[in-house]
Symmetry: C2
Subunit: 406 residues, 2 copies
């Protein structure tokens, strides 16, 4: 991947769970040499579920694809010296550090920047005051579970996707590249701090939802599966599948009416109700009526027929798929699938992707995740210039570990 956009760049990552590791992976998949540093035996996320039958974590291996792995005794002063040296090693393509909830003083900006003044350091945390937070607690705090789920749900509904972790990881990568661009121009390094809770607050505020509640003096009610402010909802099909159908623009709405043969019904309804269904607010306010009229069209057709007709009519829609449906669709037509079935040492075949950022027409085949500590010796040699004797001694003293030695 020598002409990859970030080829040559070296980043040291000390991070766990989703946020930091997913940000580091995004950069690794664009060609950066991301060196993940872990304690010997792995960090707290190393056995996180889901697991493969042999006990390896599908989650850990999924979130650390394309990185190198170094295993170090982080409590030993010699281990701390090595990690500090890796982070602050000289060279225009090094001196970049991404951490996630690390509270160790020796890994903090004031200490590290004494070793390398132009360090670029991205520190991801829970709350900006240092209190811990995770996706589940942050999501609870921004009003989302209160808006999610069926209208009759009497209690908050959590999301299952760690959306804030993923967005925070990506935002950390943006911050890292932005600071790096400044360093390339001015020589100036810097620390950027990023709180998971702030990412969530900033995003929900950007959608206008807090100001909406303040102006209305009340919270937006739950809408079930309806899209807020426009028309979009799910319909069951004759064969027990389900589709999501959306009409944001006038063209999408007209296409939907035409293919379902409901043009005249809705024309008459517009007159009867005195409403313009060509405008989003009209469709939103009458979403239940619209859905009831359209439902009968979907419930007598199977998914294959619905697919052919809606695609032909340029309706904006998509089928609901379970995880197993995604797997089966991939296996039925692997060449058409954005996923690849790649081999992960320690696990076997796994479904994954390289970067979704396509630089050519071909799908990127992801590099697998490293075995824990697999690159310990190579990194100590090529970044710090240690000899094999010195590296052997570090192993003997238990300061570092490689597979089979830890």
């Amino acid at each position: 991947m020598s002409d990859a956009p970030l080829a040559g760049l070296r980043i040291v990552e000390c991070a766990t769970y989703v946020a930091g590791p997913s940000g580091g992976m995004a950069l690794a998949q664009l060609g950066a040499d991301v060196i993940r540093v872990d304690p010997v035996g792995g960090a707290t996320d190393y056995r996180r579920w889901p697991l493969a039958p042999g006990g390896a974590s599908l989650y850990w291996h999924g979130l650390n694809k394309g990185k190198r792995s170094v295993a170090v005794d982080l409590r030993a002063p010699a281990g701390q010296e090595l990690v500090t040296a890796l982070i602050t090693a000289p060279g225009a393509e090094g001196g970049v550090f991404l951490d996630n909830n690390v509270r160790r003083a020796w890994l903090s900006w004031p200490v590290l920047s004494q070793q390398r003044a132009d360090l670029v350091h991205v520190h991801v945390e829970g709350h900006r005051d240092g209190r811990p937070a995770v996706d589940y607690t942050v999501n609870a705090g921004v009003g989302i579970p209160d808006m999610t789920g069926p209208e009759a749900a009497g209690a908050p509904v959590n999301h299952v996707l760690p959306a804030w972790d993923l967005l925070t990881g990506s935002t950390a990568a943006v911050g890292l590249l932005a600071l790096l661009r400044r360093r390339d121009r001015s020589g100036e390094g810097g620390l950027v701090q990023l709180a998971l809770a702030d990412v969530a607050l900033a995003a929900v505020a950007s959608l206008g939802w807090f100001t909406e509640a303040r102006l209305a003096g009340r919270n937006r009610p739950r809408h079930g599966n309806h899209v807020y402010g426009s028309f979009g909802v799910d319909f069951p099909t004759a064969d027990g599948r389900r589709v999501m159908v959306v009409a944001l623009t006038r063209a999408q709405w007209r296409a939907l009416c035409q293919v379902t043969g409901t043009d005249e019904v809705f024309q008459a309804l517009q007159v009867a109700l005195g409403v313009d269904l060509d405008d989003e607010p009209g469709r939103y306010l009458h979403r239940e009526t619209i859905a009831a009229i359209l439902r009968t069209w979907f419930e007598v057709r199977e998914l294959g027929t619905v697919n052919a007709l809606l695609e032909g009519a340029h309706v904006l829609w998509g089928p609901y798929r379970t995880a197993l449906d995604v797997v089966r669709d991939h296996e039925a037509a692997p060449a058409a699938s954005p996923l690849t079935d790649h081999f992960q040492p320690g696990i076997g075949p796994v479904l994954g992707m390289g970067t979704p950022l396509r630089l050519g027409d071909a799908a990127a085949v992801p590099a697998p995740a490293p075995e824990l500590g697999a690159d310990t010796s190579a990194v100590l040699a090529d970044v710090l210039g240690l000899t094999s004797t010195e590296i052997g001694r570090l192993h003997d003293r238990g300061v570092v570990a490689s597979p089979g030695t830890g």
Copy 2:
């Protein structure tokens, strides 16, 4: 913002809704000059709900903070020439284009790169084969709604947060900065394409959930508000509030047992069940039992008491807040709030944030969104060097618009 990391960089954005605009905003909030180009009168997202009482979109203004706005007749050849000139204007800090679902040939890479070979172009789309998709249809297709909601939910539960749009926008910003870094080094520009559907598939695959379903031969059942693979769930408090409590690590679990006085209960339970609750799988498999035992502690205490006790004990937790709770918490202690109450022309006070990437200790006060077309004349003058006579003529012919002229 002259020492902002991206100061000097000029990006032209042709994008609507959430994905492209949120990515452009992230770059603007780091100091880039992001010039949003819209058709005269605004694009299809210009009146998207929620609205302020005067009819302005809280959503549009929230997602376009800190940009400049140029309004152009995109159907007129003269308008197309102007936009092409803006995108491909010379200079190391220009020649960067972010688009979102734009299918116009004159705004495509093959055409634009003839004007400027080292153009950096990020093209966001629905599916990689060009078919349209939006957050709601993409989310349906990756299995998430099938895992979301109460265990008894008989149908998929959509998320309300446009998580895939936000993640796609941020990923687009990562791609843009990565290509820019390559251009800074080699002079080589390029096109990067990014499909919303691929972002979602890649992320869910990275969490291991597709391979999990394939290995198990079945889909993961719904877990309500429980955290998968560990212990985390919500509890109601005596005063009608609700909290999310999580114990991923042993230390978090021990802290929770201690503060709730359940140490001995869980010790006895471990013996009785023959399970190790210090490990995540044990806590996950017995999550209902654990939740039932802990629930009584929460339901007799008010939120204030729960807060004080859990914080003191270093338990990982957070209160559920509605959007209105967020507003009230901000108004009760604005200095402690990451949000700011800034003035948005055309709307009034709105709650928002600048970039969550903190370069110093102070919260960034967000720049407001531009009025549509507010920067038309300034951009034509400072990027293209047009005279005020030329700019006046373009207004007279209706090729461009400024507030009050469109």
